[in-house]
Assembly symmetry: C2
Amino acid sequence: LYHERVIEHYDKPRNVGSFDKSDPGVGTGLVGAPACGDVMKLQIKVDEETGKIVDARFKTFGCGSAIASSSVATEWVKGKQLEEVVTIKNTEIAKYLSLPPVKLHCSMLAEDAIKAAVKDYEAKR
Amino acid sequence: LYHERVIEHYDKPRNVGSFDKSDPGVGTGLVGAPACGDVMKLQIKVDEETGKIVDARFKTFGCGSAIASSSVATEWVKGKQLEEVVTIKNTEIAKYLSLPPVKLHCSMLAEDAIKAAVKDYEAKR
Ligand code: FES
């Protein structure tokens, strides 16, 4: 039913947890999926000198596909510039994980959460 | 955000797993939620002499609320008669777990899965 990458990220999610959101180098994105009511929090830690994302964390109470999507998202943003990560599309995550169409909204949570985290970081500066 | 009972059943779900579905004493319910695309499998093991459910198992890739709902459902069906468990309403599960309205469809999966498992058991006899 699900691709082995989904199962693998679901069983061993990367970067689960939180940063202190009052840290000026941290951007926090909290987003919800209207389709299912799930919520995802994704945080980035930015090196203020280089503008690079040096670390990321997520938390979600969502389904297996949402957990896998956010796990992949946190991996993908690390080491990248803010301008780069806002171009990450949910369809790329969905393709990487071979999500079925009915689960596209779970990968959308991850895309939205990245954008919201970047916005929050920029608003804090 | 979520009631402590949800968190507790999510962290330590009861009765996760499978029975051999070819066992004549086993009823298997496999149901899906159109709202979110999640799927749940719930199985009951019936004592054919007394008609009582002696054990239950579930598997789902659904969200935290779905995991908690099915964990509760498997606990509630144990020791009960088939006629009794088909009267379990998703609203009772949702109330017990204090699920928000947007998560009612997750508890509906559990109600539907119980009914489907009983139907499957009866069809096999
Ligand atoms: S959101 Fe799909 S089962 Fe809860």
